[in-house]
Symmetry: C2
Subunit: 169 residues, 2 copies
Amino acid sequence: MAEGHGSAIGGENLLFLTDEQLRKGIEAMFFAYRGFTADPDRILEAHGYGRAHHRALHFINRTDGTTVNNLLSILGVTKQSLNRVLRTLIEDGLVESRVGRTDRRERNLFLTEAGEALERELSEAQRERMRAAYRAAGPQAVAGFRQVLEAMMDDEIRRQYYSLRDRRA
Amino acid sequence: MAEGHGSAIGGENLLFLTDEQLRKGIEAMFFAYRGFTADPDRILEAHGYGRAHHRALHFINRTDGTTVNNLLSILGVTKQSLNRVLRTLIEDGLVESRVGRTDRRERNLFLTEAGEALERELSEAQRERMRAAYRAAGPQAVAGFRQVLEAMMDDEIRRQYYSLRDRRA
DNA sequence: CTTGGAATGTCAACAACGCTGACATAAAAT
DNA sequence: ATTTTATGTCAGCGTTGTTGACATTCCAAG
Protein backbone atom coordinates (compact mmCIF):
# COMPACT_ATOMS: atom_id res chain seq x y z
CA MET A 1 0.00 0.00 0.00
CA ALA A 2 1.60 3.25 -1.11
CA GLU A 3 0.33 6.67 -0.06
CA GLY A 4 -3.21 7.15 1.21
CA HIS A 5 -5.61 8.37 -1.42
CA GLY A 6 -8.92 7.62 0.18
CA SER A 7 -8.29 4.57 2.33
CA ALA A 8 -8.27 6.51 5.60
CA ILE A 9 -11.03 6.65 8.22
CA GLY A 10 -12.37 3.10 8.18
CA GLY A 11 -11.86 1.32 4.91
CA GLU A 12 -13.23 2.36 1.51
CA ASN A 13 -16.64 0.91 2.34
CA LEU A 14 -17.18 3.78 4.74
CA LEU A 15 -15.76 6.49 2.50
CA PHE A 16 -19.29 7.60 1.68
CA LEU A 17 -19.78 8.50 5.33
CA THR A 18 -17.04 11.12 5.60
CA ASP A 19 -18.13 14.63 6.56
CA GLU A 20 -17.02 15.76 3.12
CA GLN A 21 -19.26 13.23 1.37
CA LEU A 22 -22.13 14.09 3.65
CA ARG A 23 -21.72 17.78 2.94
CA LYS A 24 -21.80 17.11 -0.77
CA GLY A 25 -25.00 15.18 -0.29
CA ILE A 26 -26.49 18.08 1.65
CA GLU A 27 -25.62 20.56 -1.07
CA ALA A 28 -26.88 18.22 -3.77
CA MET A 29 -30.18 18.00 -1.92
CA PHE A 30 -30.40 21.78 -1.65
CA PHE A 31 -29.65 22.47 -5.30
CA ALA A 32 -31.72 19.58 -6.62
CA TYR A 33 -34.77 20.72 -4.70
CA ARG A 34 -34.52 24.04 -6.50
CA GLY A 35 -34.68 22.22 -9.80
CA PHE A 36 -37.45 20.01 -8.52
CA THR A 37 -39.73 22.98 -7.87
CA ALA A 38 -38.57 25.29 -10.66
CA ASP A 39 -40.95 24.14 -13.42
CA PRO A 40 -44.15 24.04 -11.35
CA ASP A 41 -43.21 27.41 -9.83
CA ARG A 42 -43.20 28.99 -13.29
CA ILE A 43 -46.61 27.56 -14.13
CA LEU A 44 -48.05 28.52 -10.77
CA GLU A 45 -46.85 32.08 -11.09
CA ALA A 46 -48.63 32.42 -14.42
CA HIS A 47 -51.86 31.31 -12.71
CA GLY A 48 -51.34 33.50 -9.65
CA TYR A 49 -50.78 30.60 -7.29
CA GLY A 50 -47.93 29.43 -5.07
CA ARG A 51 -46.38 26.17 -4.00
CA ALA A 52 -48.96 25.64 -1.30
CA HIS A 53 -51.65 25.47 -3.98
CA HIS A 54 -49.63 22.92 -5.88
CA ARG A 55 -49.27 20.69 -2.82
CA ALA A 56 -52.98 20.88 -2.09
CA LEU A 57 -53.88 20.03 -5.69
CA HIS A 58 -51.42 17.17 -5.74
CA PHE A 59 -52.66 15.46 -2.62
CA ILE A 60 -56.34 16.06 -3.31
CA ASN A 61 -55.82 14.45 -6.69
CA ARG A 62 -53.83 11.70 -5.05
CA THR A 63 -56.33 10.77 -2.38
CA ASP A 64 -59.61 11.79 -3.93
CA GLY A 65 -62.28 12.73 -1.42
CA THR A 66 -59.80 13.22 1.41
CA THR A 67 -60.88 15.19 4.45
CA VAL A 68 -59.38 18.50 5.47
CA ASN A 69 -57.84 16.95 8.57
CA ASN A 70 -56.17 14.19 6.61
CA LEU A 71 -54.75 16.75 4.21
CA LEU A 72 -53.42 18.76 7.15
CA SER A 73 -51.48 15.83 8.52
CA ILE A 74 -50.00 15.02 5.11
CA LEU A 75 -48.99 18.59 4.39
CA GLY A 76 -47.81 19.32 7.91
CA VAL A 77 -49.29 22.81 8.14
CA THR A 78 -51.97 24.43 10.28
CA LYS A 79 -55.61 24.40 9.27
CA GLN A 80 -55.54 28.18 8.97
CA SER A 81 -52.73 28.03 6.44
CA LEU A 82 -54.39 25.28 4.47
CA ASN A 83 -57.76 26.96 4.72
CA ARG A 84 -56.53 30.10 3.05
CA VAL A 85 -55.18 28.13 0.11
CA LEU A 86 -58.18 25.85 -0.05
CA ARG A 87 -60.62 28.74 -0.03
CA THR A 88 -59.05 30.35 -3.09
CA LEU A 89 -59.00 27.02 -4.90
CA ILE A 90 -62.69 26.49 -4.11
CA GLU A 91 -63.60 30.07 -5.07
CA ASP A 92 -61.73 29.66 -8.35
CA GLY A 93 -63.60 26.45 -9.07
CA LEU A 94 -60.60 24.12 -8.99
CA VAL A 95 -61.64 22.22 -5.87
CA GLU A 96 -65.02 21.06 -4.69
CA SER A 97 -65.80 20.63 -1.01
CA ARG A 98 -68.64 18.23 -0.26
CA VAL A 99 -70.18 17.60 3.13
CA GLY A 100 -69.23 14.15 4.40
CA ARG A 101 -71.83 11.41 4.10
CA THR A 102 -71.15 9.41 7.24
CA ASP A 103 -69.95 12.38 9.31
CA ARG A 104 -71.48 15.59 8.08
CA ARG A 105 -68.96 17.68 9.99
CA GLU A 106 -66.25 16.54 7.65
CA ARG A 107 -65.64 17.93 4.21
CA ASN A 108 -64.52 15.69 1.37
CA LEU A 109 -62.33 17.38 -1.18
CA PHE A 110 -62.34 16.74 -4.90
CA LEU A 111 -60.76 18.32 -7.94
CA THR A 112 -63.11 19.77 -10.53
CA GLU A 113 -62.27 19.35 -14.20
CA ALA A 114 -60.44 22.67 -14.12
CA GLY A 115 -58.57 21.52 -11.04
CA GLU A 116 -57.59 18.29 -12.69
CA ALA A 117 -56.39 20.21 -15.71
CA LEU A 118 -54.08 22.43 -13.66
CA GLU A 119 -52.89 19.49 -11.58
CA ARG A 120 -52.03 17.64 -14.76
CA GLU A 121 -50.16 20.62 -16.14
CA LEU A 122 -48.14 20.99 -12.93
CA SER A 123 -47.40 17.33 -12.37
CA GLU A 124 -46.55 16.72 -16.01
CA ALA A 125 -43.91 19.44 -15.85
CA GLN A 126 -42.51 17.98 -12.66
CA ARG A 127 -42.65 14.42 -13.97
CA GLU A 128 -40.86 15.48 -17.12
CA ARG A 129 -37.91 16.75 -15.13
CA MET A 130 -37.95 13.64 -12.96
CA ARG A 131 -38.17 11.48 -16.06
CA ALA A 132 -35.12 13.14 -17.58
CA ALA A 133 -33.18 12.73 -14.34
CA TYR A 134 -34.21 9.09 -14.02
CA ARG A 135 -33.29 8.38 -17.61
CA ALA A 136 -29.90 10.04 -17.21
CA ALA A 137 -29.12 8.16 -14.01
CA GLY A 138 -30.54 4.75 -14.83
CA PRO A 139 -32.72 2.25 -12.91
CA GLN A 140 -30.12 1.23 -10.34
CA ALA A 141 -29.42 4.84 -9.39
CA VAL A 142 -33.15 5.47 -9.11
CA ALA A 143 -33.50 2.61 -6.65
CA GLY A 144 -30.70 4.06 -4.55
CA PHE A 145 -32.19 7.53 -4.79
CA ARG A 146 -35.47 6.29 -3.38
CA GLN A 147 -33.78 4.29 -0.63
CA VAL A 148 -31.81 7.26 0.64
CA LEU A 149 -34.82 9.59 0.47
CA GLU A 150 -36.98 7.17 2.40
CA ALA A 151 -34.30 6.77 5.05
CA MET A 152 -34.13 10.54 5.38
CA MET A 153 -37.79 11.00 6.27
CA ASP A 154 -39.09 11.37 9.82
CA ASP A 155 -40.63 8.14 11.05
CA GLU A 156 -44.20 9.37 11.09
CA ILE A 157 -43.85 10.98 7.69
CA ARG A 158 -42.41 7.78 6.30
CA ARG A 159 -45.47 5.91 7.51
CA GLN A 160 -47.71 8.39 5.72
CA TYR A 161 -45.57 8.10 2.63
CA TYR A 162 -45.87 4.30 2.63
CA SER A 163 -49.58 4.34 3.32
CA LEU A 164 -49.89 6.67 0.34
CA ARG A 165 -47.72 4.63 -1.94
CA ASP A 166 -49.79 2.17 -3.84
CA ARG A 167 -53.24 3.62 -4.02
CA ARG A 168 -54.97 4.24 -7.33
CA ALA A 169 -53.14 3.55 -10.53
CA MET B 1 -45.14 -15.57 -19.75
CA ALA B 2 -48.04 -15.91 -17.37
CA GLU B 3 -50.07 -12.95 -16.15
CA GLY B 4 -48.62 -9.48 -16.25
CA HIS B 5 -47.11 -8.35 -13.00
CA GLY B 6 -44.84 -5.59 -14.07
CA SER B 7 -43.66 -6.52 -17.52
CA ALA B 8 -46.00 -4.13 -19.32
CA ILE B 9 -45.20 -0.72 -20.83
CA GLY B 10 -41.75 -1.27 -22.31
CA GLY B 11 -39.82 -3.98 -20.59
CA GLU B 12 -38.84 -4.03 -16.93
CA ASN B 13 -35.83 -1.81 -17.63
CA LEU B 14 -38.17 1.08 -18.24
CA LEU B 15 -40.54 0.34 -15.41
CA PHE B 16 -38.88 3.05 -13.35
CA LEU B 17 -40.09 5.60 -15.88
CA THR B 18 -43.81 4.98 -15.49
CA ASP B 19 -45.88 7.92 -14.31
CA GLU B 20 -46.58 5.97 -11.13
CA GLN B 21 -42.90 5.52 -10.36
CA LEU B 22 -42.21 9.15 -11.17
CA ARG B 23 -45.00 10.28 -8.86
CA LYS B 24 -43.56 8.20 -6.05
CA GLY B 25 -40.21 9.82 -6.64
CA ILE B 26 -41.83 13.25 -6.50
CA GLU B 27 -43.55 12.47 -3.21
CA ALA B 28 -40.37 10.95 -1.79
CA MET B 29 -38.55 14.13 -2.66
CA PHE B 30 -41.21 16.25 -0.98
CA PHE B 31 -41.33 14.26 2.24
CA ALA B 32 -37.57 13.72 2.42
CA TYR B 33 -36.90 17.42 2.10
CA ARG B 34 -39.04 17.96 5.17
CA GLY B 35 -36.82 15.58 7.11
CA PHE B 36 -33.73 17.15 5.60
CA THR B 37 -34.60 20.56 7.05
CA ALA B 38 -36.33 19.45 10.25
CA ASP B 39 -33.31 19.28 12.59
CA PRO B 40 -31.69 22.57 11.55
CA ASP B 41 -35.11 24.25 11.69
CA ARG B 42 -35.44 23.32 15.36
CA ILE B 43 -32.01 24.70 16.19
CA LEU B 44 -32.59 27.85 14.19
CA GLU B 45 -35.89 28.52 15.91
CA ALA B 46 -34.19 28.35 19.31
CA HIS B 47 -31.74 31.01 18.10
CA GLY B 48 -34.39 33.16 16.47
CA TYR B 49 -33.21 32.54 12.93
CA GLY B 50 -34.72 30.97 9.83
CA ARG B 51 -33.62 28.80 6.95
CA ALA B 52 -32.23 31.75 5.06
CA HIS B 53 -29.73 32.32 7.86
CA HIS B 54 -28.68 28.69 7.72
CA ARG B 55 -28.02 28.87 4.00
CA ALA B 56 -25.97 32.02 4.36
CA LEU B 57 -23.89 30.51 7.19
CA HIS B 58 -23.37 27.31 5.23
CA PHE B 59 -22.08 28.93 2.08
CA ILE B 60 -20.00 31.56 3.83
CA ASN B 61 -18.33 28.75 5.76
CA ARG B 62 -17.99 26.79 2.55
CA THR B 63 -16.37 29.47 0.46
CA ASP B 64 -14.65 31.59 3.04
CA GLY B 65 -14.23 35.23 2.04
CA THR B 66 -16.86 35.03 -0.69
CA THR B 67 -18.34 38.26 -2.01
CA VAL B 68 -21.98 39.24 -1.61
CA ASN B 69 -22.56 38.90 -5.34
CA ASN B 70 -21.14 35.41 -5.43
CA LEU B 71 -23.32 34.42 -2.53
CA LEU B 72 -26.36 35.86 -4.32
CA SER B 73 -25.79 33.71 -7.37
CA ILE B 74 -25.32 30.59 -5.26
CA LEU B 75 -28.42 31.19 -3.17
CA GLY B 76 -30.55 32.40 -6.05
CA VAL B 77 -32.21 35.28 -4.19
CA THR B 78 -32.19 39.07 -4.54
CA LYS B 79 -29.61 41.22 -2.81
CA GLN B 80 -32.36 42.81 -0.74
CA SER B 81 -33.43 39.43 0.60
CA LEU B 82 -29.89 38.36 1.34
CA ASN B 83 -29.02 41.74 2.79
CA ARG B 84 -31.72 41.50 5.43
CA VAL B 85 -30.39 38.14 6.59
CA LEU B 86 -26.76 39.18 6.33
CA ARG B 87 -27.34 42.35 8.31
CA THR B 88 -28.78 40.48 11.28
CA LEU B 89 -25.91 37.97 11.18
CA ILE B 90 -23.36 40.80 11.13
CA GLU B 91 -25.17 42.69 13.90
CA ASP B 92 -25.27 39.54 16.01
CA GLY B 93 -21.54 39.02 15.49
CA LEU B 94 -21.79 35.75 13.56
CA VAL B 95 -20.50 37.12 10.27
CA GLU B 96 -17.76 39.61 9.53
CA SER B 97 -17.80 41.78 6.40
CA ARG B 98 -14.42 43.07 5.25
CA VAL B 99 -13.77 45.53 2.43
CA GLY B 100 -12.21 43.77 -0.56
CA ARG B 101 -8.47 44.16 -1.07
CA THR B 102 -8.21 44.22 -4.85
CA ASP B 103 -11.63 45.78 -5.41
CA ARG B 104 -12.63 47.86 -2.45
CA ARG B 105 -16.29 47.98 -3.56
CA GLU B 106 -16.64 44.32 -2.79
CA ARG B 107 -17.21 42.93 0.66
CA ASN B 108 -15.59 39.65 1.67
CA LEU B 109 -17.64 37.62 4.12
CA PHE B 110 -16.26 35.48 6.94
CA LEU B 111 -17.69 33.61 9.89
CA THR B 112 -16.63 34.75 13.34
CA GLU B 113 -15.96 32.14 16.00
CA ALA B 114 -19.58 32.42 17.13
CA GLY B 115 -20.67 32.04 13.52
CA GLU B 116 -18.54 28.96 13.09
CA ALA B 117 -19.99 27.51 16.27
CA LEU B 118 -23.58 27.89 15.08
CA GLU B 119 -22.70 26.64 11.62
CA ARG B 120 -21.13 23.57 13.17
CA GLU B 121 -24.17 22.96 15.34
CA LEU B 122 -26.50 23.23 12.34
CA SER B 123 -24.44 21.23 9.91
CA GLU B 124 -23.67 18.53 12.45
CA ALA B 125 -27.39 17.99 13.02
CA GLN B 126 -27.99 17.83 9.29
CA ARG B 127 -25.00 15.58 8.69
CA GLU B 128 -26.16 13.26 11.42
CA ARG B 129 -29.45 12.66 9.65
CA MET B 130 -27.71 12.29 6.32
CA ARG B 131 -25.23 9.89 7.90
CA ALA B 132 -28.04 7.73 9.27
CA ALA B 133 -29.78 7.71 5.89
CA TYR B 134 -26.54 6.86 4.06
CA ARG B 135 -25.74 4.10 6.51
CA ALA B 136 -29.22 2.62 6.19
CA ALA B 137 -29.15 2.72 2.40
CA GLY B 138 -25.54 1.70 1.73
CA PRO B 139 -22.81 3.03 -0.58
CA GLN B 140 -24.35 1.91 -3.84
CA ALA B 141 -27.66 3.59 -3.01
CA VAL B 142 -25.78 6.75 -2.05
CA ALA B 143 -24.06 6.82 -5.43
CA GLY B 144 -27.44 6.52 -7.14
CA PHE B 145 -28.94 9.16 -4.90
CA ARG B 146 -26.26 11.64 -5.88
CA GLN B 147 -26.56 10.78 -9.57
CA VAL B 148 -30.29 11.42 -9.66
CA LEU B 149 -30.02 14.63 -7.67
CA GLU B 150 -27.33 15.99 -9.95
CA ALA B 151 -29.39 15.13 -13.00
CA MET B 152 -32.33 16.98 -11.47
CA MET B 153 -30.53 20.33 -11.14
CA ASP B 154 -30.81 23.18 -13.61
CA ASP B 155 -27.77 23.36 -15.86
CA GLU B 156 -26.41 26.57 -14.40
CA ILE B 157 -26.97 25.41 -10.84
CA ARG B 158 -25.21 22.13 -11.60
CA ARG B 159 -22.19 24.07 -12.79
CA GLN B 160 -22.13 26.02 -9.54
CA TYR B 161 -22.53 22.80 -7.61
CA TYR B 162 -19.59 21.19 -9.39
CA SER B 163 -17.38 24.23 -9.05
CA LEU B 164 -18.17 24.14 -5.35
CA ARG B 165 -17.55 20.45 -4.97
CA ASP B 166 -13.96 19.88 -4.11
CA ARG B 167 -12.79 23.03 -2.43
CA ARG B 168 -11.33 22.98 1.03
CA ALA B 169 -11.27 19.77 3.05
C1' DC C 1 -82.07 16.21 26.47
C1' DT C 2 -78.23 18.49 27.72
C1' DT C 3 -73.54 18.85 27.73
C1' DG C 4 -68.92 18.04 26.04
C1' DG C 5 -65.83 17.41 22.50
C1' DA C 6 -64.45 16.97 17.61
C1' DA C 7 -64.20 18.97 12.99
C1' DT C 8 -64.37 22.86 10.58
C1' DG C 9 -64.49 27.71 9.39
C1' DT C 10 -63.39 32.58 10.19
C1' DC C 11 -61.05 36.74 11.80
C1' DA C 12 -57.05 39.16 13.44
C1' DA C 13 -52.36 39.66 14.00
C1' DC C 14 -47.74 38.50 13.26
C1' DA C 15 -43.12 36.62 11.28
C1' DA C 16 -39.96 34.83 7.73
C1' DC C 17 -38.47 35.50 3.44
C1' DG C 18 -39.23 35.91 -1.19
C1' DC C 19 -40.11 40.05 -4.61
C1' DT C 20 -39.89 45.08 -7.02
C1' DG C 21 -38.71 49.85 -7.24
C1' DA C 22 -36.20 53.84 -5.96
C1' DC C 23 -32.33 56.03 -4.39
C1' DA C 24 -27.47 56.80 -2.21
C1' DT C 25 -22.71 55.94 -2.09
C1' DA C 26 -18.16 54.56 -3.36
C1' DA C 27 -14.95 53.05 -6.47
C1' DA C 28 -13.55 51.18 -10.72
C1' DA C 29 -13.55 51.69 -15.68
C1' DT C 30 -13.96 54.30 -19.73
C1' DA D 1 -15.47 63.76 -16.14
C1' DT D 2 -18.82 60.44 -16.89
C1' DT D 3 -20.59 55.88 -16.73
C1' DT D 4 -20.88 51.49 -14.77
C1' DT D 5 -20.47 48.26 -11.05
C1' DA D 6 -21.03 46.67 -6.35
C1' DT D 7 -23.22 47.41 -2.44
C1' DG D 8 -26.41 49.17 0.90
C1' DT D 9 -30.84 51.04 2.43
C1' DC D 10 -35.73 52.22 2.64
C1' DA D 11 -40.43 51.38 1.54
C1' DG D 12 -43.88 48.37 0.23
C1' DC D 13 -45.98 44.06 -1.24
C1' DG D 14 -47.20 38.81 -1.57
C1' DT D 15 -47.09 33.99 -0.13
C1' DT D 16 -47.19 31.02 3.39
C1' DG D 17 -46.21 29.70 7.69
C1' DT D 18 -47.53 30.69 12.84
C1' DT D 19 -50.97 31.68 17.39
C1' DG D 20 -54.99 32.94 19.55
C1' DA D 21 -59.87 33.61 19.89
C1' DC D 22 -64.36 32.53 18.71
C1' DA D 23 -68.63 30.57 16.05
C1' DT D 24 -70.89 26.71 14.11
C1' DT D 25 -72.22 22.16 13.40
C1' DC D 26 -72.88 17.71 14.80
C1' DC D 27 -71.83 13.29 17.05
C1' DA D 28 -71.69 11.01 21.35
C1' DA D 29 -71.86 10.31 26.22
C1' DG D 30 -73.99 11.18 30.40
